[in-house]
Symmetry: C2
Amino acid sequence: MTDTLTATALTLKDIAREAGVSLATVDRVLHNRPGVRPDTVRRVKAAIERNAFQPHVAAAELARSRARRFVFVMPAGPNPFMQQIEAYLGEMSAWLSARRLGVEVVATDVFDPSVLAAALEALSGNYDGVAVVALDHPGVRAAINDLVDAGTRVVTLVSDVPSSRRHHYVGIDNIAAGRTAGALVGRLVGQRSGKVAIVAGSQGLRDHSERIFGFNQVMATEFPGLSVLPVLEGRDEDDRSEQVLARLLGRHADIVGLYNVGAGTQGVAKALSDAGRGKQVVFVGHDVTALTRRLLLQGVMDAAISQNPGHEARAAVRVLLALARGEPILREQEKIRIDIVMRDNLP
Amino acid sequence: MTDTLTATALTLKDIAREAGVSLATVDRVLHNRPGVRPDTVRRVKAAIERNAFQPHVAAAELARSRARRFVFVMPAGPNPFMQQIEAYLGEMSAWLSARRLGVEVVATDVFDPSVLAAALEALSGNYDGVAVVALDHPGVRAAINDLVDAGTRVVTLVSDVPSSRRHHYVGIDNIAAGRTAGALVGRLVGQRSGKVAIVAGSQGLRDHSERIFGFNQVMATEFPGLSVLPVLEGRDEDDRSEQVLARLLGRHADIVGLYNVGAGTQGVAKALSDAGRGKQVVFVGHDVTALTRRLLLQGVMDAAISQNPGHEARAAVRVLLALARGEPILREQEKIRIDIVMRDNLP
DNA sequence: CTCAAAATGAGTTGCGCACCTCAAAACACC
DNA sequence: GGTGTTTTGAGGTGCGCAACTCATTTTGAG
């Protein structure tokens, strides 16, 4: 029993013959060049459809000679997650250069909307595609739309700007991530009742607030025995996170669960162990880094919600490339999953 | 601040000039053709290294004109996981034909070593690459090695034959998967103590026995309050799984956890609910299918360990392609992760 | 019907490489 | 030195397409 999954090897010449036109006309239709009667366009497209014709990407790529250039706009500063994304881009360098793709990384202050918007505007015209870790702000949205209008392909990375006309978002559903964290805390706490603490970077960040929303949703509806304390803001900094959490732990002896929404994990873990409650409190956080890996192995952290940074980097490149080539995007492939990482399935 | 991650756009001609030889000689070196003095080979390779030269894949692909053919050897019969893999291959058809890749699927009885070995032998010479869901058996191993020796690229899929000389394994670490299942059952059971049941297809299957091994490992060392009952064999069939489990549930009133290692999930769930213990017993199984999805949403199943079939299908194709082209494999990308799927992170 | 504008055909070039042939040069051996 | 063998050079062809030019045909407006 054998199934064959692929098509014939037609060429543009075959399509031209089928449609009863010349190669030049097929080329005009294929590239939306002007000067073709609507009716002729239809005939050509019909021939393409009828034969499920796919232009040979290798030939197309070779013929256009001009190398494609993409740029990643990333947060400046020491964010391990972003550093991992950059590292994975570096690992792709052989892959990239074999395809004559130029990828650059621009670091900027993505938390200041005007700075970010200016950085984006500055890219206009120089790149075929832009991947940006974006803040959801009107100025940024406008900058993204300008790029799109100028013909640049734009994908948002990690943090979306849904109201913009970006072509694609590469990242997770943060509400679902928060829900997952909530379900884990609730289930791992088990029969016990008590209080649950949340430490976030800032509720002004879209991804953080969405995660908190999802977390609270699950807590409220499914774990009535647990009461959620007001959100602490640690600004993703270790020291500050430690302080605010230490104070809270001092005030509440019955904290049984802890959700760390963003970074600052070092501080959170320190506050927990300094209070001598590292093993009694169920601790769920985000991202697999050297630190969270160690904490998971030690049993201080119980689970990490993770989005694979390598996957995000590669997916962003692949999506930009597919968009630039006019190829379909393999949605299933480029979708970023919410990984639950516990000690035994550490990648 | 800007980093550039990609190389120049050298061509073979540049390398030839650099090495002080002709294009023909570079070509001979690049394709391991005979008739080049060792010293010359060294000079050419040095020039390639020095410039981090990567042949333009599009040009190479175009020039060799001959389309590549791959074949997937999969289990016959209605296995939802395998059907999903086939479905994802189908979704790639545009991607495949744009690259002039022919992918075929051959169904065979992979559980009979001689049938499988014969099927593999029959492929020899007809394909550039083979992906096979393999049984670990001397006859199969020999068949794989024969294919490799004949120049065919071989990857094992889902189930490995580590003793063979296959080029790559696309699948998960099943011991780690079992450990993960064990940790989940243990943690989700919580404070309670009691017995844990295991239903497997057959302990003769390598992946199943490895999962059980990992599961028991975690149970023994970390959850002394839980005692694991002897493994039930359901042969991945619904009816049989239901019967053996129903009998066990009848004999032991204190079962608090259940690990379903393979398929037959329908039967397992039925036995559980018929006994009226769907919600009290922590039930962890494998794979996300329409059925397990429903069971997770209903709360009958608590978690599913999953290996993404779409990822496996695509990874197998990409690995075969990279092997055929002599490109490096992006190991991080092709590694299949052990996904923990609970209700809130259902993909 | 006339004439300009629009639509189309015919053809060329080049992308970088694989694959091939044939001749020339370098080398080894006696 | 001559012989045969190995190594190297030079060159050609074609893969399928993008991008372009220029001539020719068709069309529609007046």
